[in-house]
């Protein structure tokens, strides 16, 4: 095994995902400890142009696998080329985003190279010759610090929005073209289409600002006031389990233990009481604001700012107020 770190860069709609730069930042931190190099791999359509976006990030090589067969995501197609690059380069660490793709691909490739993987990490450091990662367990009710034991290629998936993104650091990465090496017949499951759901708003797992509604919203159409504030701030709309179970909101935007875990810089909880399973999904947000009629709602204990009031009065008022500021 070498001392190197391999970063799996993710591309969506032709753009390199922001988390890729966060991964490069984490990779630099690790190689400061190991003394190795950082390489990257980009797979899929637009891999070539995405590589240019990080060509001056101090990477040694960027492997580009852009064959047409990889235009659509398939676990098997991507895992084939990814695992071969891992086997050839023998890095000590492989970093991925804890995204839909990273969470699907990571364990499969880890299994193929017989390594170890830590999912959904929020922080990492290098000490005593290995990487120690911090990750939530019990859906964010606790954290553990965990480290590899023995000589295993260690895969780490890192949640978006947790680590600072790296910037250019000079140098020109060598671009290595790599054929997919798979046939269409050998791929037994493949994505055929992407269906957008969120109405143009950012996804809650990637959003910097989330406005969330709870049971007190009382109806699906009342989400309009939440949407207005979210759209004004370029944020995403979230919902508590109570609101989803009552049919007021789609499950895709549920925040909490059986929904998504989110980490925005601003989370505004409107009419959400703050059940344990909800707090588990949003408590790492940088700034939390609670708007609730009940002054004893547990959400206030976890918030930075609170207003005791009716969300139907407060939220439109807040939207109006912010409009005059921006």
């Amino acid at each position: 095994m070498t001392n190197d770190v391999l970063v799996f860069g993710e591309i969506r709609n032709g753009e390199l995902k922001k988390v890729t730069k966060e991964l490069i930042g984490a990779a630099r931190l690790i190689t400061e400890g190991t003394g190795g190099n950082v390489d990257a791999i980009l797979i899929g359509k637009d891999a070539g142009s995405a590589a240019e976006q990080i060509s001056d990030f101090g990477l040694r090589t960027i492997t580009v696998a852009g064959d047409g067969i990889l235009d659509n995501y398939s676990t098997e197609g991507y895992a084939k080329v990814f695992s071969e690059v891992v086997k050839a380069g023998s890095p000590a660490y492989v970093l991925l985003g804890a995204t839909a793709m990273g969470r699907d691909l990571g364990p499969r490739v880890t299994a193929r190279v017989d390594g170890v993987m830590f999912s959904d990490c929020v922080d990492l450091r290098f000490e005593e010759g290995r990487c120690v990662v911090k990750r939530p367990v019990y859906s964010g009710k606790l954290f553990i610090e965990i480290a590899p034991e023995g000589e295993w290629t260690t895969f780490i998936s890192i949640r978006p929005n947790n680590l600072p993104p790296a910037g250019p650091s000079g140098g020109a990465a060598e671009i290595v073209q790599r054929p997919a090496g798979v046939t269409a017949e050998s791929i037994r499951a493949i994505a055929t289409e992407i269906i957008a759901l969120s109405g143009g708003r950012p996804d809650i797992t990637e959003a910097e600002i989330i406005i969330a509604g709870g049971r007190a919203i009382k109806g699906a159409s009342n989400f309009r006031i939440i949407n207005e504030l979210a759209d004004l701030l370029g944020g995403a709309v979230g919902a508590s389990r109570a609101a989803v179970d009552a049919g007021y909101a789609d499950q895709a935007i549920q925040v909490g233990q059986t929904g998504k875990v989110v980490n925005p810089k601003l989370y505004i909880a409107c009419g959400i009481s703050g059940a344990i399973q909800h707090l588990a999904g949003m408590r790492t947000s940088r700034v939390i604001v609670a708007i609730n009629k009940d002054p004893n709602a547990p959400i206030f204990e976890k918030s930075n700012f609170g207003i005791v009031g009716d969300l139907f009065e407060v939220v439109p008022m807040l939207t109006g107020e912010i409009k005059t500021m921006l």
């Binding site: 969506r12 676990t75 999912s119 269906i195 233990q257 700012f305």
Partner: protein
């Protein structure tokens, strides 16, 4: 069609989870354990596929867990599953994803299958790895975080939608394959009274590691938990108040912009 459903015993979502005194895990005292929420969608989907395909289709639950998991396996049987395999061995402790997948792969291969359902992740360690490692070991395709599932009429492939950032990815998968389920895939049924009565007579085949041909816990030690950490205490909540609500809201907006600098 032989349908397998994987089931894990985990703490209830509403449970307060605290670190034990030794700092080596959680304090399980007083914690209610349930079927992993996402696995319930897998059970329901398995039952629906059995109903759709008919014939001699069968739903078998596969659970790795302590003796106490039996009661949850019975719940799955009461929902309508036909029988179960319970992998139970005191040597197991809390197996890591590789150990789990190696053992499950053996049990599943012994059992035979056309399709496997499980939850997208277990809400205890939240690794979300076992199903994909398992797929690799069984050399079958996987589709994770499935929110819509449709089996073709001839039962040879599935067209599904899996949740990704900001939307769904439509995936075509040839069977046999493993599908990990997302909330919203279906509405899991409750066990009926007749179902509960019938479940008592259904077979649970308990297997130890030795029964599955393992001399010791497989997979090797790959990681070590160094520390369990409680959540950091949040900042004190600053309540924004004023005579008039309008003034309180204006102050909140100012705080968010000028002090917190988040808008």
């Amino acid at each position: 069609m032989k349908i397998l459903v994987l089931l894990k015993r985990v703490p209830d979502t509403e449970a307060r989870i605290l670190i034990n005194q030794e700092g080596t895990g959680i304090n399980e005292q007083g914690v209610k354990f349930v079927i992993n929420t996402y696995d319930e969608y897998g059970i329901e989907q398995g039952l629906r596929i059995r109903e759709q395909v008919g014939g001699d289709s069968k739903v078998t639950v596969v659970c790795m867990g302590p003796g106490e998991a039996t009661e949850l396996i019975r719940t799955a049987l009461a929902m309508g599953a036909d029988d179960a395999v319970h992998i139970c061995d005191p040597a197991l402790g809390k197996p890591d994803p590789f150990t789990s997948a190696i053992i499950l792969a053996k049990a599943i291969t012994d059992e035979g299958f056309d399709i496997i359902f499980c939850g997208k992740q277990a809400i205890d360690d939240d690794m979300a790895q076992v199903q994909s490692i398992l797929a690799e070991m069984l050399d079958i395709p996987q589709v994770n975080v499935v929110a819509v599932f449709e089996l073709s009429d001839d039962g040879t492939k599935a067209t599904v939608r899996r949740r990704i950032e900001g939307g769904d990815e439509k995936v075509e998968a040839r069977l046999p394959a493993i599908f990990s389920c997302e909330k919203g895939l279906n509405e899991p049924r409750y066990a009926s009274l007749p179902g509960i009565m019938k479940a008592k007579k259904k077979e649970i085949r308990t297997k130890t590691l030795a029964d599955l041909g393992f001399g010791e816990v497989p997979g090797g030690t790959r990681s070590r938990v160094l520390k369990w950490l409680p959540l950091p205490k949040g900042a004190e909540c600053r309540m924004v108040e004023a005579e008039e609500m309008k003034d309180a809201v204006a102050e909140l907006a100012r705080l968010l912009r000028e002090e917190a600098k988040v808008i």
